[in-house]
């Protein structure tokens, strides 16, 4: 498995175990479109998330920060969500040192 293939698998695991279950609580969802060779992750909100006024917050805290914690992920974009770099930097600053994990990633669960 190449480094890129491994990264894609890890991103899919994080989405499946750390992100999707939380979005599902409110009838939302997310689809992975692409992970570039440079580690840029492109996603799409689905279901209730698409028409939610708080999707920018969900993106910043619930999606971006979780994925950015993984080595190799360099950027995270969700189609139709745009916030300023100021806002992203603020989230990174305030949540620096805090874990976003709500449970073990899928692969860790299977190996434990």
């Amino acid at each position: 498995m190449s480094d890129h293939e491994a990264l894609v698998t890890d991103v899919q695991d994080i989405i499946e175990t750390q992100i999707r279950p939380l979005l599902k609580i409110h009838g939302g969802g997310i689809t992975l479109d692409k992970v570039s060779e440079k580690g840029e992750v492109s996603l799409r909100f689905e279901g209730a998330c698409r028409g939610c006024m708080l999707k920018s917050v969900t993106y910043a805290l619930g999606v971006r920060q979780k994925l950015m914690q993984h080595p190799g992920v360099t950027d995270v974009a969700v189609e139709g969500v745009r916030i300023s770099d100021h806002a992203i930097r603020r989230v990174e600053k305030f949540y620096s040192g805090y874990s976003f994990w709500v449970g073990q990633p899928l692969k860790d669960q299977s190996s434990s």
């Binding site: 028409g51 920018s56 745009r82 300023s84």
Partner: protein, 342 residues
């Protein structure tokens, strides 16, 4: 076109008829006075401008001519294409605030640059008659969209999600291939109640007719919060900057805050430029202002608003309208501006 390649497609210009002959009653004069005077401070004229030859209020109390409008819109304002929209205010003006036939005449005079947006009202005189008239405007006059004004001063206001009154219009439009309905919301310009101009009645229609597009004009101010939520939730709702597009001339920060909010929560793909020419005068200064505008650092920091990009501005000023109405922008640019035509 501005900056030599920015395609400007104005969602809404009006061939107004503010003539005495078009007033329904003496009371209509109060509404007309409001229409022609409220925008004085936002209207720009220059000493050499033909429009300044008229008294700023009295000069507008007339029936606009195709020649005047053609010069204003297509020669002086940097606008490549426009949609001439009728306004069915039959409670105040016998033939409407912007008569259907006058918009058609303008579109006919500039067939390569102007689309015709018809208008009907199911209360004047009936739902059946409105559907019949819609069919005539589409089949005989080539209407590409329908303009709706549901708030009136004579007790005939109706709701845009009324299954008995409104839905037959959308069904008829669907049958005729009209996919875009546009609504005057907020921004009362008559004595009609502001409550009747709430945009919340678009929600049910947008849900029940997902194959149609619902355009909300004037950002429905003061119902801005409501339309942002609705456009965020329903992808078949788009917002038009008509009426409030000249706000930067008076309150640039207010306009910039609106734009930042729209970029963050709706996206530039569903925000359309609309000038309301001729009422607010030549729109070129505002078009130029929008092209130069930026979301200041303070708003990016305080609200998380993204910086507006050149792509956003192109979308808003013309590309969105072109996409919605199937205009090939590159072909149109070639048609309009190749050779000496410019």
């Amino acid at each position: 076109m501005i900056r030599d390649d920015v395609f400007v497609f104005d969602n809404v210009v009006h061939m107004y008829d503010y003539s005495d002959e078009n007033l329904v009653s003496e009371q209509s004069e109060y509404d007309r006075h409001y229409h022609v005077s409220k925008v004085l401070r936002r209207r720009r004229t220059a000493p050499t401008d033909v429009y300044a030859n008229w008294h700023p209020v009295e000069g507008f109390k007339r029936r606009w001519s195709v020649e005047d409008m053609g010069r204003l819109v297509f020669e002086d304002s940097g606008t490549d294409m426009a949609m001439a929209q009728a306004v069915p205010l039959f409670d105040l003006y016998k033939d409407g605030f912007a008569p259907v036939k006058a918009q058609y005449a303008f579109a006919q005079a500039f067939p390569e640059r102007c689309l015709f947006c018809g208008a009907v009202d199911p209360m004047y005189p009936s739902v059946a008659a409105a559907c019949e008239e819609m069919e005539r405007q589409v089949k005989e006059w080539g209407a590409k969209s329908m303009k709706i004004y549901n708030a009136h001063v004579d007790g005939k206001s109706w709701a845009c999600d009324d299954p008995e009154i409104a839905y037959p219009l959308y069904e008829k439009g669907r049958e005729l291939g009209i996919e875009v309905f546009q609504f005057h919301k907020g921004n009362p310009i008559t004595r009609a109640k502001l409550r009747d101009l709430s945009p919340l009645d678009i929600e049910g229609a947008a849900l029940d007719f997902p194959d149609l597009l619902f355009g909300i004009h004037h950002l429905a101010v003061p119902y801005f919060e409501e339309v942002v939520w609705m456009a965020n939730r329903y992808e078949n709702v788009f917002l038009v900057l008509s009426g409030i597009g000249h706000t930067p001339m008076v309150a640039p920060r207010t306009f910039t805050e609106w734009m930042g909010r729209l970029l963050r929560d709706v996206g530039s793909e569903r925000v359309l430029w609309g000038s309301e020419m001729a009422l607010l005068g030549n729109a070129k200064p505002v078009i130029e202002w929008i092209w130069e505008m930026e979301i200041p650092e303070s708003m990016q920091d305080d609200y998380g608003y993204p910086q507006i990009t050149e792509e956003d501005k192109r979308n808003i000023l013309g590309l969105n309208q072109a996409r919605i109405f199937g205009v090939d922008v590159e072909a149109k640019k070639q048609e309009l501006w190749s050779g000496a035509a410019r």
